[in-house]
Every structure is written in structure tokens, then in C-alpha cells.
């Protein structure tokens, strides 16, 4: 599968695989600060409007060394990698860090950064994770206000509402452009691999957003979708994997097993681009609205909300994409996903939708073992579709 313009795509691919290199280069070019943020709900627009480069800190592909003695081994791969990056100096490019998500493991990693880099400001604007309480909206608005004060103080600037509105428009455009790729993929007419789409999303988390928009527009203009989807492939939905992207080689392996990935709810995928920030009204309030809206557009196991369910959202997504089954990718030790997975499985089992759980780790991928499991899963779906009678 290779329908993307190779020159533009290779630029994005290089940046996605070396975010720190891009950030350092941008800093040299622009002469402005770089601010690191963390998944999964930080509004990058506010940093962008302050004239800095917002970069969502990514899991590094390098083996964890120093980080082993700073966070326990039973933390998820993303947080252990972040701790390791802090310890070995890979995060030195950042002038400040900001985060909004209350995840106990993430805060452990953030504390390691504070310990390793005490001179670098770190602000935690804890957005409420209970989304539908009477005070939820006011709390988030209050936190956005404190975030504004803190970012202004750290960067020694004033964030003008007009500047924030412009940044909101740029990020909305970016999400809109990315969603076009995802919509085409859903039809099966766009033969772009899951790992290639991951590059598009991951690079958008790292790059200056207008620069990224230009490259995306070029890529979209060069697309020539097929007239129909391939019949021979099993259509699957990839679910789970918060915070860090699944390894590209795992995504490629899945698609090598006769699979067409038609949709996902991954953070480095649909979840990240699901929701736009309102462009009307006060732009700071709009960021608070965006946060609350996101859990309705794409419910997440890290938030609690009585009137939305990830399982219902997943089942609806499958109906709209025509996926035949679900592969849940779970980063080992990710507690929100461990907690929610039984509810997802129950909803899928009730509807007779096949689901396969694959656990991922920072180091190592038991490729042949995973291949066997995916091939078996695909075969099971094919048989189910053919309604092959069971001897039992």
C-alpha cells in the first residue's frame, strides 16, 4: 500500500521518527521556545498562540536504561520511556512542560522530569476527569485560565484572544485534513496502511501546525482513491492504545494477515482528531468546551461520564465502517484500559462481534506469535462470514 506522495510523506515520516530532532531544528530556525505536553487532553492551541512550539512528548524507540531506576517496571511503556528520556537528557530541548491529564503513572513520569530537570518549569492544570458533574465545566474553565496565566508567565508573553482564535483555526484545519484520510480509509478505497496514517497523526503532534497543514494539503491533492474497496480482505477496527502509538511493525504485521484496517479509536488516530474546538465565542472558554466535547465524540476509559460509553461508541463505529471485528491493542500495565476492556468485550460478545486482545510492551514484539494469533482471528471471521457449519 503506497498511495501517498513519497517526497512529502518521507518528510513527515522522518519527523515522526525523530520528534526531538525536529523540535531542536525548529527552535534554531524560529528562535522561540519549545513546550512539551503530554497525552491525551492537553489543548496545544494555547501554547501555539503564545508563539511557542507545542510538542506532545512521544514514547522513544530507544531501550529504557536510566529510567529503570526511576519508575517501577510495572508502569506502562510510555511513562517509563518518558522517565528514561528525562534521565538521559533527551528532553533537554524543552523550555517548559505542561499537562492536563490526571493519570497516576503519567504523574509519576512528570515527577521524574521535575526531579531530573528542576530548572525547567512544569505546570499541571488538572482538568477534571468526571465530565458530567454540575461543576465540571466551571472547573475546566478555571484550569484553562490558570494554564493561560502560567504559560504567559513562563514564556513572558500575553496571549491575545485573536492569536488564540487563529491557533484554534489552524488546529481545526489540521484535524479536518487528517479526518479526510480517515474517512477515505473507512470506505476501503484509500490503500494507505495503518502505520502510514499513524505517521500523519504523530507528526501533527510534533510539528508546527501550519507547516504540517501545508504538507497534508499536498498529500491530499495527490490522492487517487480506488473506485471500490477490496473484497478479499477482512475489515477490522483497531481499538485501545492510549497515549503512545502502537509499533508500526505491529500494525504492518496485522495488515499482512489479510486485514484491511478501516477504522480505529487509537490516540494516535481517530481519538486525537475526533473533535474540533468551537470557533465562536471566547476562545479560552472554547478550549474548555473542546475538552468536554471530546469525551462525547470519542469516549475514553480515562474519563468518567454517566451518559456516554466507550462500548456503545465502539459498536456504533463498527456499524459505520462495516468492520467485521476488533483488535484491542493494550499497552501493558495501562490501568484505564485494563479496567474498561471487560465492558468492551461484553458489548462485542453480546453482538457476536469477534475481538482479539494483543498486549504491547516497550521492548520486543513476538512477531510470529502475534501473526499466528491474528491469522487465526482472521480465519475465524472468514468462517463466521461464510457461516461454515460447526461439527459440534
Amino acid at each position: 500500500m503506497d498511495e501517498l506522495d513519497s517526497a512529502a510523506f518521507s518528510v513527515l515520516e522522518a519527523i515522526a521518527s525523530n520528534p526531538m530532532g525536529y523540535a531542536a531544528d525548529w527552535k534554531r530556525r524560529a528562535g522561540r521556545p519549545v513546550v512539551g505536553s503530554f497525552p491525551m487532553n492537553f489543548p496545544s492551541e494555547i501554547v501555539h498562540a503564545a508563539g511557542a512550539l507545542p510538542v506532545i512528548v512521544q514514547e522513544s524507540r530507544t531501550p529504557i536504561t536510566e529510567g529503570r531506576s526511576l519508575l517501577p517496571e510495572f508502569y506502562c511503556s510510555y511513562t517509563r520511556s518518558v522517565a528514561d528520556q528525562a534521565a538521559v537528557g533527551e528532553l533537554d530541548v524543552f523550555d517548559a512542560f505542561v499537562l492536563a491529564d490526571h493519570c497516576v503513572q503519567l504523574l509519576g513520569a512528570a515527577d521524574v522530569i521535575r526531579w531530573a530537570k528542576p530548572e525547567t518549569p512544569m505546570h499541571f492544570a488538572q482538568f477534571i476527569s468526571s465530565m458530567d458533574d454540575p461543576w465540571s465545566g466551571a472547573q475546566v474553565r478555571d484550569k484553562v485560565a490558570s494554564l493561560r496565566v502560567e504559560v504567559e508567565e513562563i514564556l513572558d508573553v500575553t496571549i491575545a484572544p485573536e492569536a488564540l482564535s487563529a491557533s484554534i483555526r489552524a488546529f481545526n484545519k489540521n484535524r479536518h485534513l487528517l479526518r479526510q484520510f480517515y474517512e477515505l480509509r473507512k470506505t476501503g478505497r484509500l490503500r494507505v496502511s495503518a502505520s502510514q496514517l499513524q505517521v500523519l497523526v504523530k507528526s501533527s503532534m510534533v510539528m508546527e501546525i501550519n507547516e504540517h497543514n501545508e504538507l497534508l494539503e499536498g498529500l491530499l491533492a495527490g490522492l487517487d482513491p480506488h473506485s471500490h474497496a477490496p473484497d478479499s480482505l477482512v475489515r477490522l477496527h483497531l481499538s485501545g492504545h492510549f497515549c503512545a502509538p502502537p509499533r508500526p511493525e505491529l500494525l504492518d504485521l496485522i495488515e499482512e494477515c489479510g486485514v484491511l484496517v478501516v477504522n480505529d479509536d487509537l490516540y494516535h488516530g481517530t481519538r486525537y482528531i475526533s473533535t474540533d474546538v468551537p470557533e465562536e465565542g471566547d476562545p479560552f472558554d472554547a478550549l474548555a468546551t473542546w475538552y468536554l466535547d471530546r469525551n462525547i465524540s470519542a469516549p475514553c476509559g480515562t474519563r468518567v461520564q454517566r451518559n456516554v460509553d466507550w462500548d456503545t461508541y465502539l459498536v456504533d463505529s463498527l456499524e459505520s465502517s462495516g468492520a467485521d471485528g476488533v483488535i484491542t491493542l493494550m499497552a501493558k500495565f495501562c490501568e484505564p484500559l485494563m479496567l474498561y476492556y471487560p465492558e468492551l468485550r461484553k458489548a462485542l460478545d453480546t453482538r457476536d462481534i469477534p475481538v482479539l486482545l494483543i498486549e504491547t510492551e516497550h521492548e520486543g514484539l513476538a512477531a510470529e506469535s502475534v501473526r499466528t494469533r491474528v491469522e487465526t482471528f482472521v480465519e475465524r471471521i472468514r468462517r463466521q462470514k461464510l457461516k461454515v457449519p460447526s461439527l459440534a
Partner: protein
Amino acid sequence: MTLDLSLSTQQSLSTRQSLDLLPTRPRSLETVDKSNRLKSTSLGGKMVAEYWDNIFTAKERGKHVVWYNGTALNPIFQAAGLEWCHGEAFSARLAAMHLEGPAQQAGEEYGYIGELCSYARTHLGCAVMTQKGITEKQSGIVGMVDQDELASKLPSPDFFVNAYAGCSTGQQWDAMTYRVFGKDFPIFNVSLPMIWGNKKDSGYLRGTEWEKTPLYVEEQLKKLIEFIEYQTKRPFDWGALSENMSYIKRASELRLEAMALCAAAPTPATYWDWVASIAPINFLPANQMLVDYFQAVKDEITQRIVDNVSAVQNERYRVYFDGIMNWNKLGFLTRKFAEYDVAVVAGRYTHDSFWQEPQLIDLDRPLLGMAQHYLICPINHGLKIMEELLIKRCDEFGIDGIAFHSTRTCRAMTNPQHILARTAERDRGIKTFSFEGDVADASFYKDESLESGLVAMLESIDQQRAKV
């Protein structure tokens, strides 16, 4: 050379390993127990058992039942005439009684993975079993096997309340329990922000973050009381809340005074005695009996000092315990540390939790003091405050070493341990070690990890002393 094989044959016959399944070398358990636990805490065990027996009959008595997790909201529930089931407390109780298996199996069958918080896994397993009981009752079939298991005895909730500090899993856990029960019962969430230390003036009980945040929580507690009034269809008894908090305040003062007496060397009581006293201070009804319990504990400790009775025979090392309790191993660990002449004197879980700042409780405005206590849960601080508290405790109790319980499924408690160990060494030259275990899943406990780490730390302390 001819060898006389007769003797060796004879020997081989006498030393040949038996083929039966009995151990060939019976393990001796004759190690002398050098621990000397407080006698007064046994009353706490009785009070706790009676409390749970009472809970199991709540429905028969027509009471409203609330399931809750996290901080100690029980004075509010008590004032509202509710029966309250604290999820973690019940998981801990099952683990301490070695009865956690059925609940954890039920959770596993439902789909919870073994690396998930074992408190949550056990409690969610109970929820699955309780829910199954409801379904069976509705269909007219009651599973007698399940009914015999303690884990399935919890009365089903009328509503849930969650107020979890520090650990993000806490809030998500109750959101899942709510779903296990098919969203049939309402849930109320109290959101407790971290005292993270964003500002330079941040510290324990000080700084702008500390001044502002409890007010936000206090407002939520008022809304919680409105919610309870709506659920129970009864006006809330504010006088009863103040009275409850007066008992808690007095019990807490006595507990802290008794803890302070343990700065004496040798210590008259240990961390394990304070672990045994967690349930009373954390969730038992606030009444005179609670105050009497802690008065008795303090009296016994005072008498021990007068009589020069120590909690560990031949105390040679004073150790601080960091990490949540390993409930499967309470008695075992008590004896284990004592065997090496180690008095575990204090710990983060016991000394920096559970109404530990009673001066904050204002009986005329009880909700504020409660909110403040919920926020000083020992897992709700940033690293800077945790370092401050650790050093303070080490100084107070003359600590020689720290045992870090690397609690496999409790990310909240293990979060800063590696850095805290470095801080203790850097600031006070205190030696540390880490051992593997878990809060409610015995399979994660590694005895060799504890033994080798403890011995190594004690040797380091000996060397350090020799140099002095």
C-alpha cells in the same frame, strides 16, 4: 582396589528419598517470634468483624447502602443514617483473611487482567458476585455456593459515591462498578485535585494551592449531601455530622499521641500495630467506642514505656515502611522483621493518612476539615511534599533504614519510591531496600526479595555504624 559396597549401600538405603508425597525434611517453624504486638488492638479486630457482620444484614434491616471508594466519607454517611461499604477495606479484609480468591477469580472470569490494581480487581469481583446474586434472586435461583462465600455477602448498593485522591484508577474503578451493576444505581463523584506543587510556595499544608483547593472540595461535599438527601428522602442531620467529627477528632488526637510515644527506643509499638488500627480510624462508626479504642491503645503504650516493654525483642534497627500494606502478609511480616531485630516504627501508609491533622477539624465547619484531610492523602502529593514528609518522619522516629514495599499493582503508592530512596540517602544517609509484593494479591510476594534486601540493608547499617 576392591570397594566395600555394603556400607555405602546401607547408607544409600537409609538416605534414599522417600517416594511418598510427604516432605522428606519437614520445615521447622521454630523460629522464635520476637515480635510483641499490642494486646489492645485485638479489640479493634472484634469491632471490625462486628461492623461487617452488621453490613451483611443491612438489606434485611431496610437500610440504604452506599458503596464508596477512596477517602473517609463515612462520617457523612453515618450522619445520613446510611450503611457504608468501603471497597478497598473489604478487599483488604478478604486478603487479610486469605479469602480473596473467589472474588479475584470472579473478576478474572469477567475479564480483569491480573496486573490491574488488586484492590479494584477483588472489589469488582465482589460486585460481579453480588450482581450475580441479584440476578439469581430475581430468577428465583440463589447460588448456594456463592452465598457461602464471604466475597458475595456484600449487600447490593442503593448508590455509589466515589472520592478518590491521588490515584486516577480509583475514580475509573467505581465507574466500572457502576457499569457492572448495569448503571441501575446512581453514582456521585467527588473530584479531589492533586496537591501537585505548581507554585514555588507549595508545601505540606501551606501555599496558595493548599489554601484554594479545599474550598473547591468543600463545595462538592455540600452537593454530595444534597445528593444523599435526594436518595434517602430525608433531611441531612448536620448536628450528627459535627458530633461524629468530634469523636473522630478525639480518636485521631489519641492515635497521634500514641504514635508519638513510639519515638522512644526501644519502641513500645510498631507499624504493624498501627496497621491493625487502620480500620477503626478509617471507616468504623464515629462514637465513644472509637475514642475508647484509641485511649486503650495509648494507655497500653504508655504502660509499656513505664514497664520498659519493647515491641520487638532486642531492637537493633529502626525501620520506616513505605508503601501500601501487604494485607496477605500482616502477621508474617511482623514476625519476619522482628526476627532480624528490626522494629518497623512508622510508615507512610499509617502515619501520613487517616485524619492525621486533627487540628484542621473545626466542629462548626466540619466539611472544610474533611476536605483538607481528603487532600492530604499520602498519594495525593507531588514529589516535593512527599520528600518533605519522609524526612520529617525519619527525623521524628530516629530511622536507620527504609523498607520500600514495591507494591506490584499499586502504581499510586510506588510512584515516587525510587526517588524517595535517593532522597533519604542524600539528605540523611539513610539506607533503603525494596521488596516485591502486593496489596491484595499474594502471588506477587517474593520472600527472597525481602530477605536478601533486608539483610543487605542491615549489613550496610552495621558498616555505617562501625565507621562512626
